[in-house]
């Protein structure tokens, strides 16, 4: 086997086996379901496991090739280098497109086999069967991608070390978060395949009532949690690595992860309306389809090179396939929805806009609008180019302008919605329930103004954030008073913990966007400068060398204490300069130091940029709370409403906590 080494051979074989297993599995299960052949249905389990083994094997072989530096593989030549540190050599798997598809494939195969295992006993149910067929088809598509357009195991020929084998992009080898951010984000991305598959199953079988929701709710929740944590980790990575002190830049890749988050968030809210009231059936299906197709579309946008991004670490020829997949997904889903349109007619009615369902409806309008704005802004340059052949850009000023009002209204909804009863709310009830939360908002405003915050938009954001926080706390306090720590469990209460996390993120983003202060100082060794009430002394500027890079770092003592060391490194293989900021984290603000070009150890001169960034840490804590709250929400609460309780009964005026 002369053309390819043992790793390439094993990798290709694993992928071929996986592709065959998922294709046969999907075919067999579809046939069996159509023919109602139970024996064949049981056989499908085997196919799913083989597909999983194929995916696992492919990833393991690729890691083996990376670790053993098997230069016979083109991908190893692309992202591997003789001297990448072990950790970043391991993460090199997902540092370019081909390996990322392998990671995607692995997670997808895992989700598929978990679905197959969990619903093993119910595989005779056509809805479940069609869902699994959908998962297998998607898996087969990714096996196909991994074999054809993005072949990670392609033979690389004789490596020319003068040109190849430089290791991953320097930005992907200087922070530990590279280990966590992509897999967790992908867990969220890929996780939305499961609810989508169940939605397709529901449409195919025509059982579009509320049964399939029960299956997908928790899957959607988990996917959402992973996606949220993944996005926050991505912001953290950008903050720690990119060196301009920001966490979010509305870059196309960031938008691509944010779009499914928006529609997914809309879904996990509006699905409750369908559960309680049997309404919004088409809408919920559409949201799931949108979420899944947006993950594919986002991958297309950022990986095909049609939009440029600071995070797009590789371009490729995968574009047409992903675009085709996007088209097929949308066309099939729309076709199915149109076909089942008669069964999707929902019986209920929403009595009053001032009600829980009314608030969810408003929430959905806003989230969908938000998603529309983000998508429009991301693809608008393409539209203009197609129409006029002009190059334009749509950047963060646009998104910031649009996102601020939407975000503020969403915070307001977050404040009001949790106290609203289903059906209809009286003024009396609102006045009572919202009283203390509203004072929390007023308190937040007063505190913010006393601390020196200015500007209408940030102040409104803080007010409503306090208000929303008060509402969430009210719910949690009432629930824990009644049920002890179990009052934190269940969808409503876990959801409130998530709300608190989102509020922290919103406050952190508002404060850091509005009140960051920055100063640039040229210092000689031994100089001290005063900035924002702190003193910064330049202890030294030194050269340093590491196996794969050389650089300079400044040692800056903050307030005479510990020295922080912002650096600029040149990654010798790529010839790329990468700044590494140094951050002193604090609850109230971070002090963020970067070393600028023009610093020289030989002259003892350093150009240091100092950012004072308020409340950044709140964003990371908020992300953590979101993840934690999602976990809590996944546990069933103690007092589950009996499903047979009439929901149409009038709501008593006193607290109805566990809704």
């Amino acid at each position: 086997m002369l053309a390819e080494g043992v790793n390439g051979l094993f990798g290709h074989s694993a992928l071929i086996i996986g592709l065959a297993a998922s294709v046969f599995g999907a075919g067999a299960l579809a046939t069996a379901t159509l023919l109602k052949d139970q024996r064949l249905v049981r056989a499908v389990q085997g196919y799913v496991w083989v597909a999983l083994i194929g995916a696992v094997l492919a990833v393991v072989v690729m890691e083996r090739a990376l670790i053993t530096r098997d230069w016979s593989i083109a991908y190893v030549q692309k992202v591997g280098s003789p001297d990448t540190p072990p950790l970043f050599n391991f993460t090199a798997l997902w540092s370019a497109l081909e390996g990322s598809i392998l990671l995607w494939l692995l997670l997808l195969a895992m989700y598929t086999s978990i679905v197959a295992r969990r619903y093993k006993a119910r595989m005779a149910d056509p809805l479940v069967a069609w869902a699994l067929v959908t998962m297998l088809v998607v898996t087969a598509f990714f096996f196909f991608l991994a074999l054809g357009p993005t072949d990670a195991f392609q033979a690389g020929g004789v490596p020319d070390f003068a040109k190849c084998c430089k290791g991953p992009n320097p930005l992907l080898q200087n922070h530990i978060l590279v280990l966590f951010h992509p897999p967790i984000l992908y867990l969220g991305y890929v996780g939305f395949t499961v609810p989508f598959a169940f939605a397709i199953g529901a449409l195919v079988t025509g059982r579009v009532g509320e049964g399939w929701l029960v299956e997908t709710r928790r899957w959607a929740l988990f996917a959402w949690g992973f996606l949220t944590v993944g996005i926050v980790l991505g912001s953290w990575w950008s903050y720690e690595v990119l060196g301009w002190g920001g966490v979010w830049a509305w870059d196309p890749v960031e938008n691509a992860s944010f779009l499914p988050w928006l529609t997914g968030t809309a879904y996990i809210h509006s699905v409750m309306v369908q559960e309680r009231r049997g309404m919004l059936r088409v809408w919920n299906l559409s949201l799931l389809v949108a979420t899944f197709s947006l993950t594919i579309l986002g991958t297309f946008l950022t990986r095909s090179g049609v939009v440029n991004s600071v995070h797009a670490f590789s371009d490729s020829t995968i574009g047409p396939y992903l675009l085709g997949a996007f088209g097929v997904i949308v066309a099939v889903s729309l076709g199915l929805i149109a076909w089942r349109g008669d069964r999707l007619r929902s019986p209920g009615a929403i009595d009053s806009p001032i009600s829980r369902e009314g608030a969810f409806l408003a929430n959905n309008v806003l989230f969908t609008l938000f998603a529309f704005v983000v998508l429009l802004g991301t693809v608008f340059p393409l539209i203009v180019e197609a129409k006029d052949n002009r190059q334009i850009a749509v950047g963060s000023p646009f998104f910031d302008t649009m996102a601020a009002p939407i975000g503020i209204v969403l915070l307001f909804l977050m404040a009001v919605a949790p106290v609203l009863p289903w059906r209809k709310a009286s003024t009396e009830l609102l006045r009572t329930r919202l009283f203390w939360p509203a004072w929390c908002g007023a308190g937040a405003l007063v505190l913010a103004v006393l601390l020196g915050a200015t500007g209408l938009q940030p102040l409104l954001a803080f007010t409503f954030a306090g208000f929303a926080g008060g509402s969430a706390m009210r719910q949690l306090v009432l629930a824990t008073r009644r049920q002890g720590y179990r009052g934190l469990l269940g969808r409503t209460n876990g959801g409130m913990v998530v709300h608190l996390g989102v509020i922290l993120i919103a406050v952190g983003l508002t404060a850091s966007n509005s009140y960051t202060r920055a100063g640039e100082f040229t210092m000689n060794k031994g100089d001290t400068v005063q900035f924002a009430g702190h003193s910064f002394q330049l202890n030294d500027v030194v050269d340093f060398t590491a196996p794969n890079r050389v650089g300079i770092k400044a040692l800056v003592a903050i307030d005479g204490g510990q020295a922080y060391a912002p650096a600029i490194s040149k990654y010798t293989a790529q010839g790329m300069d990468v700044g590494t900021p140094s951050v002193k984290t604090g609850l109230r603000y971070d002090i963020y130091l970067t070393l600028e070009n023009g610093s020289k150890p030989s002259t003892g001169l350093a150009k240091v940029k100092i950012f004072i960034k308020p409340l950044i840490v709140w964003i990371w804590v908020g992300g953590l709370l979101c993840g934690f709250g999602t976990l809590l929400a996944a546990f069933p609460g103690k007092h589950r409403r009996r499903p047979t309780d009439p929901v149409s009964a009038p709501v008593p005026l006193e607290e109805t906590v566990d809704v």
Binding site: V282, W283, D315, L323, F326, V330, L334, I350, V365, A386
Partner: protein, 201 residues
């Protein structure tokens, strides 16, 4: 499914009348979107060759600076001769690669005596002067190297990606912009072309 008109459909009891239009609208929008995506070009958009510039046909922006030898430089004072300005950075690969061609071009023009074009290298901001000096002493090139410590000249000429080469005629008017690497034959030919046009008018 980004179309916000969708929420109307599920909540509308009289779907019989509204739904087909909503569906049609969604399908049309999505189809148009699909076509835009399918036809959008991908890949690098950086062009090598003659490119457009708002400066073409206009008097060149004011450039007042000093050369690395400490001699004052004022572009307006170069009127009367053909001027070629090459934007350069010692850390840029293509700039280093095209350097021998510029050396050749410079020698060629010097052969024409006073009527030959003057070549200037314009540095980028923050370019390490020691590195530039070292590069020129290693690789030859005796024409003046002009500093741009405040970046004004680079911005005024709209130079983002070096190397770039501009030709300025004896009236001080910018007549040509070339992006990317250039070789000496091409550069001489372009200068000659502009000379012919200039002399014809």
């Amino acid at each position: 499914m980004s179309d916000t008109e969708v929420p109307v459909a599920p909540v509308e009891p009289a779907r019989r009348r509204v739904a087909p239009f909503v569906v049609l609208a969604v399908v049309v929008v999505l189809a148009a979107f699909f076509v835009v995506l399918a036809t959008s070009s991908s890949g690098p958009k950086d062009k090598v060759g003659i490119v457009d510039s708002p400066l073409l046909g206009r008097v060149a922006p004011t450039v007042r600076s000093t050369t690395l030898d400490g001699v004052p430089f004022d572009l307006a004072r170069r009127k009367g001769s053909w001027v070629v300005i090459n934007f350069f950075n010692s850390t840029c690969g293509p700039c280093r690669a095209e350097h021998p061609e510029l050396v050749k071009f410079s020698e060629q023009q010097q052969g024409f005596g006073d009527s030959g074009a003057e070549l200037y290298t314009m540095l980028q901001i923050n370019n390490d002067i020691d590195a530039v000096n070292k590069f020129f002493s290693d690789n030859g090139g005796d024409w003046p190297i002009v500093r741009d410590d405040d970046g004004t000249t680079n911005v005024a000429f709209g130079v983002a990606l070096v190397p770039e080469t501009f030709i300025v005629n004896p009236d001080g008017v910018v007549v040509l912009r070339w992006a990317g690497e250039i070789d000496s034959d091409m550069l001489s030919r372009l200068v000659q072309q502009q000379r012919d046009i200039y002399e014809a008018t």
